[in-house]
């Protein structure tokens, strides 16, 4: 899979920016079908950094009500990538 299809977008959140500052961990929204190996490769290729660890988790979509029907936003996969010392990614 192409790296651009693995990494959907970086996640810019309060929690994420705290983690990147303190633990050098960066979070991304990734393809649901992507596995940790693919994610590691993609991040290393796209951001030119050394990845030392990847954690993934499935995020449940939110329940949304449209008029009287209950709908659901899609589930998605989040990846928290730990970088090697001295490496950094500059989002935003």
């Amino acid at each position: 899979m192409d790296s651009h299809n693995v990494i959907k977008k970086p996640l810019l959140t309060e929690k994420g920016s705290r983690m990147s500052e303190r633990e050098n961990k960066y979070s991304f929204r990734v393809a649901k079908s992507a596995n940790k190996v693919e994610i590691r490769k993609a991040v290393e290729e796209l951001f030119k950094v050394k990845v030392t660890g990847v954690n993934t988790l499935m995020m449940r979509g939110k329940k949304k009500r449209v008029r009287h029907r209950v709908g659901k936003t899609p589930d998605w996969k989040k990846a928290v990538v730990t970088l090697g010392q001295g490496d950094k990614i500059d989002f935003a």
């Binding site: 810019l12 309060e14 920016s17 989002f91 935003a92």
Partner: protein
């Protein structure tokens, strides 16, 4: 911050400002800190956005905002430091470079400043004082006016209108058949020339209650017609001028007392006028003594100010003075202002806070505009008054033969003005 001032012709100044890199980055940091408080970016609670993320997000617009801040702050600081009083909007030249967080930054501001003036020999200005002379004639004219004001109007029923009678009219006037004016209970003296000539003539001989119509042709060939009815005829009875009259007028014991009082009033009014005239002369002399290059924008601002004042007094009517004339006037006012300011500075004429407060309270008591917010204006007008008084006390005053009060007509005008004031 380094400030360099370059003098340009026409009292313009170019202020060159250079900021160190640390100063620039401090501005950036302060700005970001303030922006973070209100920034809302998805993924972050309000006020919790990290500075560097916000900075990235804003990009160029942040530079623009910082630039505004830098210019605003250093302009004020530079003016204070170099003692510059700007009189126009500053024009800022930043070149094409925007400030950057890790680089020093420089720019220049060009502004019209208040020109410095030098004025010598302001002590001992030669002024001409008009002579004040209140004659018996003037007093009599004032009394006559008083009589007319207090005259009784007695109804006349047994005869038609005669010349000099006062009549009460109802009526309408038409031009080419269209009603243009409608009047009722209009009191007018027949034959006094206040009414159109034809109407004045037709009025004489009308008995009470009679309606009349007449028409004439106007200058432009239009058909003018009047329709009116005499409601009442009145004869004016002037009071006899004697001690009783004096008592009625103002509780004076005798006619002599009344005359003395009127004389005193006229004299003081004339003195006020003389003093006013002297002060006007001072202003003119000062304006003539100052040679200064007044920036164009300053003159234009003054012209605009004068227009505003005229507008305030004459509502809905533009000044009909042309621009050139106004500009000349504005120039003279500016010169006078600068001269007085300079003299006040040299002679250490100052106004204390108490004086300002007192004057403000007086103005408020007199029902004038509230001066609380205009204490600067008030302070200046007090300082100006003091300076002019100072100049007046040091001036050489020469008496002039011509009397200020010329005609009884003028007397009545002054008298009326005085009464209005009291």
């Amino acid at each position: 911050m380094r400030v360099n001032v370059e003098e340009l012709p026409g009292s313009r100044k170019r202020i060159e400002v250079e900021l160190e890199q640390e100063e620039v980055s401090k501005h950036f940091e302060d700005k970001v800190k303030r922006l973070v408080m209100g920034a809302q970016i998805p993924g972050f609670r309000k006020g919790k956005v990290p500075g560097h993320i916000l900075e990235k997000r804003m990009g160029k617009s942040l530079q623009g905002e910082v630039l505004e801040e830098i210019v605003g702050e250093s302009y004020g600081k530079a003016c204070r430091e170099k003692d510059i009083t700007p009189v126009s909007e500053p024009s800022v030249d930043t070149g094409s470079a925007m400030p950057q967080k890790d680089k020093p930054y420089s720019f220049s501001i060009t502004v019209d400043t208040k020109p410095g003036v030098s004025i010598e020999d302001y002590k001992g200005l030669v002024l001409e004082r008009e002579k004040v002379e209140v004659t018996d004639e003037h007093v009599s004219a004032a009394i006559q006016r008083e009589r007319e004001e207090r005259a009784e109007f007695l109804p006349v029923n047994d005869r038609p209108v005669m010349r000099d009678d006062w009549v009460l009219l109802d009526g309408k006037s038409f031009v080419d058949g269209n009603a243009v004016q409608d009047f009722s209970d209009y009191m007018v003296q027949a034959g006094s020339g206040r009414l159109p000539k034809e109407m004045d003539e037709a009025l004489v001989g009308c008995p009470v209650g009679q309606e009349k119509e007449l028409s004439s042709t106007g200058k432009g060939g239009e058909q003018i017609s009047y329709k009116f009815r005499v409601k009442a005829i009145k004869e004016r009875r002037l009071l006899i001028v004697n001690d009783e009259f004096a008592r009625d007028v103002g509780g004076f014991q005798s006619l002599e007392e009344l005359r003395a009082d009127i004389r005193k009033r006229l004299e003081s009014a004339a003195e006020v006028r003389v003093e006013h005239d002297l002060k006007r002369q001072i202003g003119e002399k000062l304006a003539g003594m100052v040679e200064v290059d007044v920036p164009q924008s300053f003159v234009e601002r003054q012209v605009e100010h004068m227009r505003q004042i005229t507008r305030a007094y004459v509502t809905g009517q533009e000044t009909n003075q042309d621009d050139g004339e106004l500009k000349k006037l504005a120039m003279a006012q500016i010169k006078e202002h600068l001269a007085i300011e300079e003299i006040a500075r040299r002679e250490n004429i100052t106004v204390t806070e108490e004086e300002v407060e007192k004057a403000g309270a007086e103005a408020a008591a007199a029902g004038l505009k509230k001066d609380a917010e205009d204490s600067d204006g008030l302070r200046w007008s007090l300082r100006r008054k003091k300076t002019v008084d100072f100049l007046l006390s040091h001036a050489k005053i020469e008496d002039k033969g011509k009397s200020l009060i010329m005609t009884p007509d003028e007397v009545s005008l002054i008298d009326r003005g005085q009464k209005g004031n009291s």
